[in-house]
């Protein structure tokens, strides 16, 4: 069932055509990738004024290329495609991403695209949190050419991103992590098919003395209107020798940076408490990976 009635459904063959259609139809048009988020909005009548879909599957953009500089992921790569990349599965530095990719059911893994998971700017999705911890930028194409935007600058509000009206995502770039890095992601959910109540990811690089040289701590799942990094937690972690007491302190530190939402999944107080717990768990898991466990 779809409550949204469409006037037209386009399958353009090039980026130029996509931009043209976006220009022509303005607010009436919506980009369609896998459709797994768009369908939910259409079924709940949450697409007021939209009556044109621009399905971008014919653009290709589905390749995932690993090079010396890092990983280039096409916006139309499916989550299942990303999960099957051996470097992501094997490199501890990208562990947060393989953790996050274990969450959605197979049917969603086969349908949802990486670009759609990011462009939706939904705070309850998992990949944005993992990508923020690992460090990523998005690539776009629009009427004034192409841009690269740091993922941190991409999310601007609840379901809002920094794409211009006539601009779309073409891919995501991850830079190759420093040697001695590891990352992990954890999610709290009500059941196997649900979105996150809270999720957290930690990426860290440790030097030979066992001190944390660099750290990135990210949270999502309604700890704010957008997924975010916790500067306070990162500051506390950086430069420290890893001890058994440290993860709990880092978990507490995220409180300075979050302002959780309340909704049908959880109260703001519960999210707040869980944000610390999940950050601590993600950090412990990253440390375990660093020291050789998986």
């Amino acid at each position: 069932m779809s409550l949204t009635t469409l006037e037209n459904y386009f399958l353009p063959g090039s980026g130029g055509e996509v931009v043209q259609l976006l220009q022509e139809y303005g607010e009436r048009a919506m980009i369609l990738a896998g459709g797994s988020f768009v369908h939910g909005l259409a079924a709940r009548n949450l697409l007021p004024g939209v009556d044109v879909f621009i399905d971008i599957q014919k653009l290709g953009l589905a390749d995932i290329v690993a090079g010396s500089g890092g990983l280039e992921i096409g916006a139309m790569a499916r989550l299942a495609d990303l999960a099957s990349v051996s470097e992501i599965r094997e490199d501890a530095a990208w562990g947060a991403l393989s953790d996050a990719l274990r969450c959605p059911p197979v049917q969603i893994m086969n349908t949802a695209t990486v670009g759609g998971n990011i462009a939706a700017a939904c705070p309850y999705f998992d990949l944005p949190t993992a990508f923020l911890a690992i460090g990523a930028s998005v690539r776009t194409e629009g009427s004034s050419g192409s841009r690269e935007i740091d993922l941190e600058d991409f999310f601007t509000g609840l379901f809002e991103n920094s794409l211009a009206q006539e601009e779309f995502l073409t891919g995501v770039a991850l830079s190759r992590p420093e040697p001695g890095s590891a990352s992990a992601f954890v999610k709290l959910e009500t059941n196997a098919n649900d979105l996150a109540i809270v999720n957290a990811a930690v990426h860290m690089t440790v030097d030979e003395s066992g001190a944390c040289q660099a750290a990135r701590v990210a949270l999502g799942g309604g700890v704010n209107e957008i997924p975010l990094r916790s500067a306070a937690a990162e500051k506390l972690l950086t430069g420290q020798v890893i001890t058994d007491e440290l993860p709990a302190k880092v978990g507490q530190a995220v409180q300075a940076d979050i302002s959780p939402m309340a909704d049908h999944r959880a109260s703001a107080e519960y999210r707040s408490a869980m944000a610390s717990v999940l950050t601590e768990r993600a950090l412990r898991s990253a440390i375990a990976r660093m020291t050789g466990g998986n």
């Binding site: 399958l11 369609l32 059911p105 197979v106 086969n110 196997a192």
Partner: protein, 155 residues
Amino acid sequence: MKQLISIEINGEVHELAVAPQDSLLHVLREELGLIGTKKGCDTGGCGCCTVQIDGRAVYSCMTYAMSVQGKPVVTIEGITENGQLDPLQQAFIDAGAVQCGYCTCGTIMAARELLATVPDPDESQIRHAIAGNLCRCTGYQKIVDAIKLAAANSA
């Protein structure tokens, strides 16, 4: 405005006029009478509408019919060959994995992708593969048994 498309379902190409917002599930059930694919939640939450597109299990309720042009679709009706049940269908009968049966077709279609890629799955791989398929009757154990049995019978 309806648009004329052609889609391949169970090896047969159909020419159809569809509204741009029509789901593949709607077209299968309402236009083609292929009612083995069930409609449960219609929003990606239950799995009983699962079909295979390009060999991959997807929810047909959230797949736009317009988007499957040029991609082979297989439904539960398409897995029986020359009157011979698919090993999964037979195993679901033999293991007693069907109660009301509403979830069965979708679960078989999800399990089919698993067995095509992992011929000898362990229990956790099986449970992961059907995590997107809800069953309100069986408690899942017999479904898991059936998938193991199908794997063993196909070896």
